[in-house]
Amino acid sequence: MKMQKKRYVLKFPAQSGDMPLSYHLVKDFDIRINILRAEVWPGKTGSLVLELEGTTTNLKNGIAYLEENQVSCEPLNKKITWDNARCISCGNCTAVCFAGALQMNPEKWELQFDPEKCIVCELCVPACPLNLFKIDFRDN
């Protein structure tokens, strides 16, 4: 069975805070979890950036389980926007992205963005002198 690794932004309502969701993901769906970022406050809505690794079927079922429990689950790349059209490929953002999601193409020296590598550290947001990054993983 082919394993897949995907990054998701989870948003869960206040009442799901006490449910052992990640336990069930691991136990019932055999999904490996890597928490990249968490903003959870007791009794309030929370956001989590997770890397989930499992078979396609298990990932699908795991996500369906989360959604049944009122937890929204969106692929991470939808939550990061970068205004490519205005980018001047100066490279300032690549200086701070040690995850390697932002890199200069070594031939053309244009910025390349690989959302799969992003760990949502948000360092690129203030680093871009043109303010081209929007990373929104909190509740709107």
Binding site: C90, G91, N92, M104, W109, E110, L123, P129, L130, N131
Partner: protein, 388 residues
């Protein structure tokens, strides 16, 4: 006989559509197999370019007179302070000027908005005089309503620039980008072998009056730039190994485009302006051919610690190393990143090449060469009137 061409001969060839023009990167490749003599024979002009943040930028604007007229003694453009000491209705708006209340929008943004044809709010105050009775005006100006708008940059196109690192345990926010603690990144800023003053290190062809590409149109070198320093140490290829000469440049801002003039805001530092500059270098002889053949592995620059007062030098690296993505400084491997756009610089070098080939851009012989023995003074502090 060694080749010796004149500016006029090269311009004649440009007019006849016979000139051979290469970008500085192309000629560096050619030099791998051709001698300087062969290059001088075959190539007439080499185009160089850079597109980086150049804080020392600004624009002179003449607003025209209102009725009744005002002698503007305090000027705000979209809230950004502009210089008020230039007669009645002229101003100089510096790229780094800003209103502390709104630090993310500064002079560079006003300049870019002007170039883009956007409306700008002009508010000015005067004391009211017999010939300029008005005391206040609040109105809208734009590219079409003003008389002149001229880009004038006193210090641009730095000949080489240090690499920035930060040895402290705190993030440093600089004009060389955000420097991670403990030397976890290094940033560099020139376009290396494409960079104008690295291709003519002794400025044998660049001087006052040199016609250049500036912000999308033709501009001129009008003076040696401020902090012009010719006494910095050079390496075996004749290239200064740290920041040395600079250029003062000028051009018609009305003709420029924000594709080559980009306002920028650096976190916890302030506003600056990315400026696109391209300089054609006429290949007059084998000496100049040799200079334009310089390659990234021959261009060295100094690594400076921006975390420590005085930015002490930590070592030297080449542009080939910088571009490889990693340098070694004092035994430590450090990831590198550019902070100026090579993609844009290449575009400028190409546009300049094409406009020369199309006969739209002639080479100009400088009317005055630059000084060759200038160094820099630093600012001494004199306390309480005592002289030390």
């Amino acid at each position: 006989m060694s080749i010796q061409k004149t500016y006029e001969e090269i311009n004649e060839k440009i007019r006849r559509g016979e000139a051979v023009v290469l970008t500085a990167e192309e000629v560096s490749q050619m030099a791998l197999t051709a001698t300087p003599e062969e290059i001088a024979e075959k190539v007439d002009v080499v185009t160089t370019a850079t597109f980086g943040a150049m804080c020392s930028s600004g624009a002179i604007v003449n607003f025209g007179h209102a009725n009744p007229p005002i002698r503007m003694e305090k000027i705000r453009l979209n809230g950004v302070p502009a210089y008020e000491g230039l007669a009645a209705v002229d101003t100089y708006i510096g790229a780094t000027a800003c209103d502390p209340e709104n630090p993310k929008y500064g002079g560079a943004h006003v300049i870019q908005d002007l170039v883009d044809g956007k409306d700008i709010e002009l508010e000015a105050w005067g004391k009211g005089t017999d010939c300029y009775p008005r005391k206040h005006i609040k109105t809208i100006i734009n590219k079409e309503t003003v008389n002149e708008m001229i880009l004038f940059n006193p210090r641009n196109a730095y000949q080489n620039y240090p690499v920035a690192v930060n040895s402290t345990s705190q993030m440093k926010y600089t004009y060389m980008g955000n420097l991670l603690p403990n030397m976890r990144n290094a940033t560099y800023s020139t376009s290396g072998e494409l960079s104008p003053l690295l291709n003519d290190p002794e400025m044998k062809t660049i001087g006052i009056g040199t016609r250049i590409f500036l912000g999308g149109t033709q501009g001129f070198v009008v003076w040696p730039g401020t902090q012009f320093n010719t006494l910095k140490p050079k390496n075996e290829f004749g290239v200064p190994v740290s920041n040395s000469a600079t250029l003062a440049v000028m051009g018609n801002l009305k003709e420029m485009s924000s594709e080559f003039l980009q306002a920028a805001y650096y976190e916890k530092y302030g506003v600056s302006l990315f400026v696109g500059i391209g300089i054609p270098i006429p290949v007059l002889n084998a000496d100049i051919a040799k200079n334009v053949s310089i390659r990234n592995e021959q261009i060295e620059t100094t690594v400076c610690d921006y975390g420590v007062e005085g930015s002490p030098a930590l070592g030297r690296v080449t542009y080939a190393e910088l571009r490889s993505g990693e340098i070694e400084v004092q035994g430590k491997k450090i990831r590198t990143a550019p902070v100026s756009s090579l993609a844009k610089a290449r575009k400028i070098a190409k546009i300049l090449k094409q406009s020369i080939l199309a006969g739209e851009f002639e080479i100009s012989k400088p009317v005055q060469m630059f000084p060759t023995n200038t160094s820099l003074k630093s600012l001494k502090e004199v306390k309480g009137g005592e002289q030390s």
